[in-house]
Symmetry: C2
Subunit: 115 residues, 2 copies
């Protein structure tokens, strides 16, 4: 159930919205690095989850969720993540935007099985 | 420049992260309603922007941006939007999650033309 609130604490918690436009750089290299970053992020203290989406035109978004500001600061400055950020700026992305958010409220809906 | 901060005020502003799993309902009907909701949302006071993404497996996210809580409350209870929400629950989505966020910080990067 990817959309349940099971893995979420009660608000407030935190979300980082990373919106990006991929460059035409090597797709395998990108996928490998992206997978490694998901793996690494999920091992960090305060990690709550991550979802990624990309449209056919190359525009995508990754939203990562964190328990508190300290967890975000820790992840932002993680050595291997910093190297990946450098690769991102140098060749993987044409542009990107980062928005750091405090989640104040949430709700979820799931269709009943017999609907 | 879809990822610039040109159309954003200085933080804080607000974001609604709507993550959804589409049902196997009619795709044209869905697209038409989605387009209408973008059009309608963009006419509301305090609207700052909207981005949508959907993966091939049907999981997607729409992030809408708003100037303040009042703008979100106004949009949430807009009559035509409420009808669309009803259609969403009744047939367009298998499940969804809504997270209402206060954007506390942002930054953007754009590769220089000669890079």
């Amino acid at each position: 159930m990817p959309l349940s609130l099971e893995n979420r604490p009660e608000p407030p918690y935190y979300a980082v919205i990373f919106t990006s436009l991929r460059s035409s750089s090597d797709s395998d290299e990108y996928s490998q690095l992206a997978r490694r970053m998901v793996e690494l992020a999920s091992q960090q203290p305060g990690y709550l989850g991550m979802t990624s989406f990309r449209n056919p035109d190359g525009l995508g978004v990754t939203i990562s969720y964190w328990a508190d500001w300290a967890a975000i600061a820790n992840w932002r400055t993680h050595a291997e993540h910093r190297l990946a950020q450098k690769q991102g700026r140098e060749k993987l992305y044409e542009e990107f935007r980062i928005e750091v958010c405090r989640v104040e409220d949430h709700s979820a809906y799931k269709r009943a099985p017999n609907d």
